[in-house]
Amino acid sequence: MKLLEKYRKFLLFLALGFSYSLAYPMTAHAMHIMEGMLPPRWCIFWFVVSAPFFVYGLYRMYKITNSDVPNAKVMLALCGAFVFVLSSLKLPSVTGSCSHPTGVGLGTVMFGPGVMSVLGVIVLLFQALLLAHGGLTTLGANEFSMTIVGPIVGFAVWKLCRALKVNRSVSLFLCAMFADWSTYVMTALQLAIVFPDPNGGIGAALIKFLGIYAVTQIPLAIAEGLLTVIVYNLVISNDLWKETALQ
């Protein structure tokens, strides 16, 4: 009780903040490209680019679920669930705005970058249909940044770190962090190509969009890296998965 006494002010502050947030919900949106914000030809372009990765993801998933790797299906579900959780957490950042992590690092390390394109689409569809976040027309573009570029960059970082004999947790942290961050760098690039600065061109627009998306994302990417390490530690220490399972 003494402890309670000591932190009473802090608790009161927390309670106030909480009720305030309930009374005035923030009208923030998911940090993907919004519905209708890309011209039709670009929407088609990103769908076409993403399609082969998605098909490859399905093939990988089929192989994994039909292999005799123990717990493969369970771990696939867990990786999908991890993306679900992390992309529902809209976190504040140093820029004074909010964004959310992507959660693709975990699945990338366990199954390789392919399967994330399938798991990620489930989350993107959920948010586009039920939450008006992201969109169906921009699904291809968002798929490309979050479930293709992010995991591929993360996987490259993971492989590089492991080849350099970096400790497992640190490699995983870097993988998840860069997967998250590169997603938003890609989003900024996608927007800058379509909406260049009237004076400065694509370069100037890219800097501006990077300032909005990528800078906000830095602390969140670090948080995502740490969370990924925690969950992976729990998975490994409970014998659910072995690091060498798919090698």
Binding site: T27, A28, I33, S88, V94, S97, L131, I212, I230, L240
Partner: protein, 104 residues
């Protein structure tokens, strides 16, 4: 406490600090970064019209936060179930092994 548990707790504290620190040091509106993105698009291309609109929009902020919470809870439930089940299984196996060892 096991070393791994300790590491996990320290990591978790770091995550919480990362989330809380912006509130203490930065006074912002904490709107969505994609709203800023949309604003920036309007600056660059004032004539651009969004040509598609969300199929369904949550009727209010409350419903929206409900759905976000549902999304997060589904995921958390799945993760915790699998990890919890595996934890129990491992413990049971260990107990069985130690019993067999002591009975011999």
């Amino acid at each position: 406490m096991k070393k791994r548990t300790k590491t996990n707790i320290i990591l978790l504290i770091c995550v919480i600090l990362l989330v809380l620190l912006p509130f203490i040091f930065v006074k912002g509106e904490y709107g969505g970064s994609d709203d800023q993105g949309t604003e920036q698009i309007k600056k660059y291309a004032p004539n651009y019209q969004a040509w598609a609109h969300p199929v369904w929009t949550p009727p209010s902020g409350e419903i929206e936060s409900l759905l976000f919470t549902v999304q997060g809870s589904i995921g958390t439930g799945i993760i915790c179930y699998f990890i919890g089940a595996a934890h129990g299984k491992k413990k049971a196996l260990e107990e069985k092994a130690s019993k067999e060892a002591s009975s011999k």
